[in-house]
Structures are given as structure tokens and as C-alpha cells.
Amino acid sequence: MIPGVDGFMYPNEVELQWSVLIVLYPYITGLVAGAFILASLERVFNVAAVRPTYRLALLTALAFLLVAPLPLQLHLGHPERSLEMYLTPHTSSAMAMFGFVYLWYLTVVLLLEIWLEYRTEIVGLAQSTRGLKRWIYRALTLGSYDVSPAARRMDEKVGYAVTVIGVPSAFLLHGYVGFIFGSVKANPWWSTPLMPVVFLFSAMVSGIAAVMVLYVVCMKLRKTAIDMRCLDTIARYLFYTFVIDFTLEMLDLIHRTYESDESFRSLDFMVHTRLLFSHVILQIFLGTLVPLFLLAANQLWRYTEGTRKAMYMTAGALTLVGIFAMRWNVVIGGQLFSKSFLGYTSYKMQLASREGLVAAVLLMILPFVIFFVLVKLLPPWQGGKAHEA
């Protein structure tokens, strides 16, 4: 008997090949896509109430996007080899194509949009600061100090166009992550065309929840009043997106149950045993039903400001845990059962190894460090007036 294995496993299934780092990768990418979608609400869909979080959402997306490939590179062991996909890309490789989607999203969408949004401040700071900071801001101006009203109007138009392009790009970025799993036809836990769509909506849910929590925490730290109209609006959009996400996940579940193909008994057993805590308790109950209830209650009844804040924060935090559990259940769950459907293995996370808990925790802290630096460099607080549609 092999420890941790029940029933029959093929030899190459006993040890999991994709570790907690591969759980982090879709989680972080999802936060990027979701945060950007929230930013686009104000810019493209004219939801002026969420303006206070527009810049915060962009900086959140950038901080997480810069970290997104790191879990994969750490998992590879030879991070330098990841550059091969840019140098000699193979068109049949989804991973290689993702490299270009990532670069497109980073440079043409996110960096450009942030630059256009912050140009007035960057030019001002390039003229008012001293020393190293002055050089940094001067470099960020790219040599252009024209912030005349006419030039800013042009920025507005181009920024709008970039956001319009950015929305499908964000969809592509995270839809791809779902595609990577959904296209593994040998694995019935992953192989469903719904996977990219489910990933996309769960990304939107996690990104919106992350920005909502970050906004409240930042305001608390700065001892500044929270714009309740903004918070209520974000919570409302979080609720809408969550309803769609939950519906899609349930659709997938009902479809699997009704179809009951040869893998169903095995997967069903796994959900009721090894994945009971992470799937049923964490993902479905604590991470979905409880936040959905809290958000729905706010749509039906009126609460005091303090109660609303507490409810939103609880819903946001639980949502983030729930979406992480969803990524965990997809990545780790998909490797726990044998393709013979006759046995199950278990995942024992290492502690201080290249793919262990410490590495995962550090990788989750890193975006917040980058976010802190970005906020110091490009303060999102003096957001100015809403964008003209």
C-alpha cells in the first residue's frame, strides 16, 4: 500500500504534478481580469459611482499581473526557459499563445491606460519633486509635458478606446486560463467547454471582491471616509456577477449529474470525501452561498452604514476564500482521482520547498508589495472627476 493512496492509481498519478503554485496562477490572473473589468465599468459602461475605485482597480490589476507568471516560472524550475515561447513560439501551444496575450494585455492595455490616466499627475510630479523621484517621473512622462485641455481630451478618447479593447482582452486573458484546463480531454473533472466561461465569471467575482476589500482597507488605513455610494454600487455589481457565476457552476454540476458518464461515480465520491471540506464547505457554502446571501440581503433590505460595511467586507473576504477554493478544487481536485476511476491519491503540500506553502504565501504577498509601491508612486486618491463617455 502506498501512503495516501486508496484503491488503484496508475503509477504516474500517485504524485501530483501540479502543485499549489498552479492553484495560485489562475487565482492571481483572475484577480487581474476582474479588477480591470471593474475599472471598465466606470470608463466604458458609465457607472460613475465606482469612480473612487477606478485607479485603485487599475493599480491592483497591474500589481497582480506582474506576479501572474511567477508561479508558473517557479513551477518550471528553469524560469529562463519560459522566454523560449516568445523566441520560438509554436502556434499549436496554448501556453505560447498566452505569452503574447499576456504581453498585449500588459503593454497595450494596462500600462497604456494607466499612463494616460495619470499623465497630468506624472507631469506635475516631474516638475515638483526632487532627486531620484524626479528622474523616475521624468522617465514616466516619456518626454511629453503637454497636459493642455485639448491634449487631455485626446487622452480621454484614446483611454476610452484602450478600455474598450481591454475588456475583450481581459476576457481573453482569463478565458484562456479556463481553456487550458477545459481542453484537457483526458480529465473529466476539467474537460468541459463551460470551463473558460466559469473561470471568466469567477475571475470577475474575485477581482471585484478584491478591489472592494482593498478600497475599504485603504480608506481605513488613510482614515478617510468611505464613499458608501461607491461601495454599494460595487457590492451590487459583485452580486450580479456572482449570481451569473453561481448559475454557471450549478449548470455545470447539474449537467454532469444528469449526464452521469463513466466518470461520475468516481468524481461524486471524491466530492463527498477528499474534497468535502474545500469544495462543499469552503467553495459552495462559505465562499458562495454565505456571501451571496449577504449581498442579496443588501438588495432587499436597508441596513445602517456600519452594518453594510461589515456585511460587504465579510462577503468580500469570503468570496476571495471561496474563489481560491474553487481554483484549488479544479487544479488539485483534477489530479486526485485515477483515470481508471478506481482509486484516489492525496496531495500533501510541502512547507519550505520551491513549490511549498512558504513560496505560495510569499507569491501572494508580492502583489501587495508591488501595489504598495505603485500607490506610493502613483497615488490613486486624487481621482479627479469622472471620465467623459
Partner: protein
């Protein structure tokens, strides 16, 4: 007039475009410098990789080489069910032994471990493939006490 104003107001947008173009140009230069010239000649790989593979020391002598000296064992094996199992599948890579039999004398494989690699009972194996639960079957006795490995009849 309108066009001139449009150019003036959007002049600053040329700069990020130039940065992007410069980065792309740099990437193309680095790419052409790094990628081996013959890349893709035979497929999506570097032809020089084939030479590198060829430089690896040869580990396996090959069936024909073994039979040149051990034809008695080869004859026994050819009559049994292991006829299509290559010598080095059980005895390990022996190119060095073939080059200099006196200097490199191979050890006999540990049958207790060797046989069960293929014949341990396993639900995933075809039903007609000979397989036993070794712990119950032999009670620790070496397989070749009863079975002849080169022609495994009783």
C-alpha cells in the same frame, strides 16, 4: 487647420507608440541573435540538438551484440514467453561490458525485485497477462527457485 490641431494635441501619444516600436525592434534583434540559424530546418527544434544527443555515451549494447557471445541463453529464451524481452531490459545497460567483458562484469539482477516489476498483480493489467500477488505467491522465496527466467515455465 483641424488636422494640424489634431496632430498637435495627439503628439504626445506618439511617444508610447515609439517606446513600443523600439521594444519590439529590440526584441526582434535579440531574437535573431539568439535563435540558431538552422532552427526549424527539420521541425520545430534546433538541428544541433541532434548532434548533442549523438554525443551522449552509448549505454545499451543492443540485442545482437549480447547474442554474439551468449547464444546459449538466447536459444533458451527464444523458445519461451520472454522471446521478445530484450536482454538489457532485465540485465540493465551493458555497453561497457560488451566493449570489455573482463573489466566490466555485470551483476545478476535481484529477481525478488525484478520479476514483480512486470508480474505483480494489478487491476490495470490485461487479465491474460501472468500476474501474482508476490507476497502471497512465494512467501519471500526468490522467483528463480521455481521459474527459469529465460524461459519461465515451471
Amino acid at each position: 487647420m483641424v488636422v494640424r490641431r489634431l496632430f498637435r494635441d495627439s503628439a504626445h501619444l506618439v511617444r508610447p507608440a515609439l517606446v513600443l516600436v523600439a521594444c519590439m525592434a529590440l526584441f526582434l534583434v535579440v531574437r535573431s541573435a539568439i535563435i540558431p540559424k538552422a532552427f526549424g530546418q527539420y521541425g520545430h527544434y534546433r538541428p544541433g540538438a541532434l548532434d548533442l544527443v549523438r554525443q551522449h555515451p552509448i549505454a545499451f549494447a543492443g540485442q545482437d551484440t549480447c547474442v554474439m557471445c551468449h547464444d546459449d541463453q538466447a536459444t533458451v529464451r527464444a523458445a519461451g514467453k520472454h522471446a521478445h524481452v530484450a536482454c538489457e531490459a532485465c540485465h540493465g545497460p551493458l555497453a561497457q561490458h560488451a566493449d570489455d567483458p573482463a573489466a566490466h562484469v555485470p551483476k545478476l539482477p535481484d529477481v525478488a525485485d525484478l520479476c514483480r516489476r512486470c508480474h505483480e498483480k494489478d487491476a490495470a493489467k490485461p487479465r491474460n497477462f501472468p500476474q501474482v500477488a508476490t507476497a502471497e505467491h512465494s512467501s519471500g522465496m526468490a522467483c528463480n527457485t521455481c521459474h527459469q527466467p529465460h524461459n519461465p515455465h515451471l
